[in-house]
Symmetry: C2
Subunit: 287 residues, 2 copies
């Protein structure tokens, strides 16, 4: 419990970045992406798999730079220089995918030193850690960036509420093989807590979108637990307890952000695709 | 040599699909994608890695359906129903990436039965085989789809020319550890052959783009050899000679199309991004 609350406090600096939002948060997401990817790769060395960090670093950096150029191209519209306007095209994302996969495949060309697994972990790290985190940056640059708050609220809200619900009424194990301590009571408490907290947020900061906040609170809470369990699965397979020890006694970046990696994209896509049309008008009134 | 020529003849049905081009070729790319992914996954069973074919099948199908909807949204423009118009947005590609990676991660949740490698091979297969082949389909639907011919010409042109150059003057080994028979003389002969064949194609079918055809002939020829070697690396690691035996005596789909998987995206991106602006006018005169 002490750990839970302390690690909550350690999240305070993060809050400042989220308050500043926009480009600051975008940059923050990039830093978290490359740190988390490093921890993810390091974990696999316990399985004698040696992914290529430089490739991941270049690929993730390219993704963020590309996102920046795309954003500039879109916002600047016709007024912008052709050299930037061209980045408005979706083909650049396809090119990024191709270049990333190609780099990982070419990594295998020193055939005696490397196993296919080395390239595949590199690819998985780029997409799982780098790309998932990138969607939060995309959300931060969108006009709907107030919803970045829900990425944090649902992830940590679920975590903390599930913990308290679990210790007070936890009886039935959720998935003992992946995470022995988790219970169904905790999970239900986590979802309820997330919905309530998201509702409270909506009530005070985004009244126009209150129903959407409640839906997000529910969906993202479930995503949050899957994110948590996914990280646990990898750690079990790697035979490690924590991804790192960056925050003494609270593990590494990836241990703290495993849920955020899942709530981020889920909320980004919900806002960008499912609800964007419905929001776009109301949105203006909020800012 | 007999094999080379025979397998050339076996490519004839393929030519009909390429002649028809457009949606027929797009559908052809889908079929090749899912067949090649199947062979790729089957190969890994020799390494006791069990990727999930259903996930790959759904993901690749989703990619092609999405590409179709995007194309319809773009071509139909404002006149189209909103339900289709929404697919014009690039966020759908990001969503496809997310859904694909998520599905592969959730595959690990039956933690006792599965290894991280199972999920990672699934992901790699989807991107390496499925996505690379998809770019050829994208090219086939674009107004520049005459360049699909160069995907075939550079891939098989390089292969055949390199073979004859190799057997006649081959002396210096190219990369004995990956593919013992390949020589530098063969590689140079392959590039020259590809450039000449692409030039001849340009001369007769796309005069306006002749210089571009020569550049493509050169770049794609090198890509073609990397594609060939990449497939060889995987086969060596898997401990198999061929990916399959679909074409008796000529291996499987992936053995025939390993080079095309690389020339396809290289030509697609060259045409779509580097040369599109320069082409767009001349293009109209061609069709």
């Amino acid at each position: 419990m002490k750990t839970r609350i302390l690690s909550g406090l350690i999240m305070l600096p993060l809050l400042i970045i989220v308050i500043l939002n926009g480009w600051v948060l975008y940059a923050g997401c990039f830093v978290i992406s490359i740190m988390a990817a490093y921890e993810f790769f390091r974990g696999f060395r316990h399985m004698d798999i040696k992914p290529c960090y430089p490739i991941a670093l270049c690929s993730i950096a390219a993704l963020y730079i590309l996102g920046m150029l795309r954003r500039l191209a879109v916002t600047a519209g016709g007024a912008v220089q052709p050299c930037i306007a061209v980045f408005g095209s979706e083909q650049w994302i396809l090119l990024w995918i191709f270049a990333t996969v190609l780099a990982c495949l070419l990594y295998l060309f020193s055939i005696e030193k490397r196993k296919p697994e080395d390239a595949m972990v590199t690819l998985t790290g780029i997409f799982y850690v780098g790309f998932f985190c990138y969607t939060i940056g995309e959300l931060a640059l969108s006009e709907m960036n107030i919803f970045v708050w829900l990425v944090i609220i649902t992830a940590f809200g679920t975590d903390i509420c599930a913990y308290f619900a679990g210790v007070t009424m936890g009886k039935h194990k959720l998935c003992p093989k992946i995470s022995p301590k988790k219970t169904w009571e905790g999970a239900i408490g986590g979802v309820l807590g997330s919905v309530i907290l998201s509702g409270v947020f909506g009530l005070f900061f985004a009244k126009a979108f209150l129903p959407y906040c409640l839906i997000i609170g529910f969906i993202a809470s479930i995503a949050s637990m899957f994110g948590d369990l996914t990280a646990s699965i990898f750690k079990r397979k790697m035979g490690i307890k924590d991804y790192g020890n960056l925050i003494p006694g609270h593990g590494g970046i990836l241990d703290r952000f495993d849920s955020v990696l899942f709530t981020g994209p889920v909320i980004y896509f919900y806002v960008a695709i499912v609800a964007d049309a419905a929001f776009s008008e109301g949105c203006v009134t909020v800012f």
